[in-house]
Amino acid sequence: MNDFSDLEDELRKLRPAQPSPVLFERVGEALKASRPFAAANATSSWWRFKGVTENWWSLGFSLAAAAVLILFAVITMERRHEQQEAVAQSSAAPETRPAPLETERSTSRSRFVPAGGTNLVYNARDEGLHFADGSERPLRRVRYNTQQTWRWRNPETGASLRVSYPSEEIVLIPVSVQ
């Protein structure tokens, strides 16, 4: 490209026309408009404010509620099934162990106990400083995308149940200006 180096230098001296200042304002407005969860909903400046995306939350709660309902349904069905088994066994032949013990055993087998939970943050975005309504201090807005997972475990049978759903969280952090 040495043949063209002079020409390239001349070309680089040409300066493209500058954008109008209005364009910067328009881009700023468009970017602001793309973030509908502004700090307007913020409460006290020293509390962490958790804004939510309603769609994600409703989806998450729906999934969690569905999982809990399924869990109860499974437990109830299993309990009924084992009670029926106990009745059948006691009517067919005298059982050495009394029925109440069997019922207790089936109840304990159906018990799921919380085994833990995780909140995996897979994306965090600093959205800069904002002024919330009624707040004189700027707040830094950080948006977190997380995957929340809750686990239950049956200690008797070793069975486990896991519910996982995505969520989005906006955190406003007070910034001290010195």
């Binding site: 490209m1 070309l11 026309a17 800069g128």
Partner: protein
């Protein structure tokens, strides 16, 4: 490399790329206002999607795509733009800030280049993209991008001599 959209530093980033983006958009639209609309849409989309600055070829591809959509959307406008281009009418607003006659002649020579050569030249000289990035933005091979650039310079050299 730091993601371009990870912070509220869009103004710094935009002020760096906007002149070159506008010049690139002016390949398809004669009006500076229309070019600004296209650049705004492309940049906002790029920024919202948190693209990495290493993928800036996507930004130019978005400008190109939006500019072509813009032309297609309005048939009357498309005819007007096509007529303006075929008749080689001067742009409504200058694409460059011209300081003297030499620069005016050079800008005119650039305007007279075939579009496929001119867009590579604009991406290379005023947007400082690599041939790899240019190839990605235009959907051509790297060799094609490099040869178009060379053709553009060869054609310019025929019509313009630096003083």
């Amino acid at each position: 490399m730091e993601p371009v959209a990870s912070h509220e530093n869009w103004r710094n980033c935009f002020s760096e790329v906007a002149p070159g983006l506008l010049l690139f958009a002016r390949q398809w639209v004669q009006s500076a206002a229309d070019a600004e609309d296209i650049v705004q849409d492309a940049f906002v989309k790029f920024w919202r999607r948190n693209h990495d600055i290493a993928n800036r070829g996507l930004l130019y591809a978005a400008v190109r795509s939006l500019a072509l959509d813009f032309i297609r959307r309005d048939a009357r406008r498309a005819r007007r733009e096509a007529t303006a281009i075929t008749e080689a009418e001067p742009a409504i607003e200058p694409s460059f800030e011209l300081e003297d006659d030499t620069q005016s002649a050079l800008a005119a020579a650039v305007d007279s280049l075939p579009r496929d050569q001119r867009e590579v030249l604009i991406l290379k000289i005023w947007n400082e993209l690599t041939f790899s990035e240019i190839a990605g933005a235009l959907g051509v091979s790297q060799n094609t991008a490099a040869s178009r650039y060379r053709y553009a310079l060869t054609n310019l050299k025929k019509t313009f001599q630096p003083r």
